[in-house]
Symmetry: C2
Subunit: 233 residues, 2 copies
């Protein structure tokens, strides 16, 4: 059911965070046209979806799909259970954090794979990062390579040899500071991104995601506009 002809363009998984915003900016530059997919899979709050919509508007992406897959209750995690406490101040890399959601990236990539095949997109971009936050098994290079191998076997176009889906992970080996610097060069509108795991009106500044973001901006010597908003002078 693909459009036929040579595959082109890219599908971007756009969560609304700083990493996916940077991945989107890179895809728009290297592999247009871009369709962005945002998932509400049952995470604690919908705030990042608001920012994903704002980013998609900012960048005038060709299409932005917000997809509801209510699987949160099936996938136990601190991110999908609003009654659980979020970890704070995690510094080591020793263990996989409680915010790990079972098989999440496999699920999201699988839907992106079907979407890309149906519309003959050549590439799927995901802003995964294995350096500063190496705890997640489905953010590692070997996971993405295994997914590409699966994708070639799983799809009609892959089996027919007319299509070779690629999963692009341009941020995989960058530190958060490197991501900030790259995003700065690309003009990523940080004020339209949301990283905090909590669903408050402003970033909490305490959760792992807020701390990593703050560390990245500090190391890059860049002011985070969302932190300015959080603490008005």
């Amino acid at each position: 059911m693909s459009r036929g002809g040579r595959a082109r363009g890219s599908v971007v998984l756009l969560s609304g965070g700083m990493d996916s915003a940077t991945a989107l900016a890179m895809a728009l530059r290297k592999d247009p046209p871009v369709h962005a997919l945002t998932f509400h899979y049952g995470q604690r709050h919908r705030r990042e979806i608001t920012w994903a919509r704002a980013l998609a508007r900012h960048y005038h992406v060709t299409q932005h799909q917000v997809i509801e897959i209510p699987v949160g209750a099936l996938l136990p995690s601190a991110l999908t259970d609003p009654t659980s406490r979020l970890p704070r101040g995690r510094t080591g890399r020793a263990s996989i954090p409680a915010t790990y959601v079972p098989a999440r990236n496999t699920i999201l990539l699988a839907i992106a794979l079907g979407y890309a095949e149906g519309r003959n997109f050549a590439r799927i971009y995901i802003g995964a990062n294995a350096v500063d936050y190496s705890g997640y098994p489905d953010c590692r290079p070997e996971f993405f390579r295994a997914f590409e191998r699966l994708a070639a076997l799983a799809t009609k176009a892959g089996v027919e040899g007319s299509w070779r889906p690629r999963v692009m992970t341009p941020l995989l080996r960058m530190s958060k500071a490197q991501i900030v610097r790259r995003g700065e060069r690309l003009g990523v509108p940080w004020d339209l991104t949301w990283s905090c795991y909590e669903g408050g009106r402003r970033p909490c500044g305490m959760c792992d995601a807020c701390r990593l973001r703050a560390k990245g901006f500090a190391e890059a010597g860049v002011t985070d506009p969302t932190i300015d908003r959080r603490r008005p002078a």
Copy 2:
């Protein structure tokens, strides 16, 4: 977030068709306890979901989850587009049929994988069949083996080495007639299964799924009770 301890039991993908009903009967015998997952992913009709519920009740499965993932519009196929014509009378195996749904089995298995990890289930059963209906790329042995390799890399429990998810495909190399014979021995209630791709009150008897089913029952020398219902004496 798994329960800890040795993994046991199985998750069964239960569509409500004759193959998944047989796979369910096998899982209940070999790998209890069983949780069954039924997906409405945007297929043309919901009729088979009614029968999946009936099967789950018949077998008193420990849990049955009916999961709505409205991705049909994202995955172009004759099965997800109610305005397209379903193929009829396909006999050869030359090409992948129009009822192929991009990445469907990857998506459903990915959710089952997260569910299985979260609840420490050892096995995922799927009633896929590569013989009579070999057109689907994601019904082939190499697809399932690649998915198992991915699963070990994608999950916390897999990476920690405490869990090795297995995808069980007991019908993969059976003909439809062999499935009917196996189901007969297991006492599968065929009258609670639905195979037809159309959403009518009775099976159409014309679509690929109806034809394959009829051929299987005929070759096995078994009367299909749903056909009796369709054509009252």
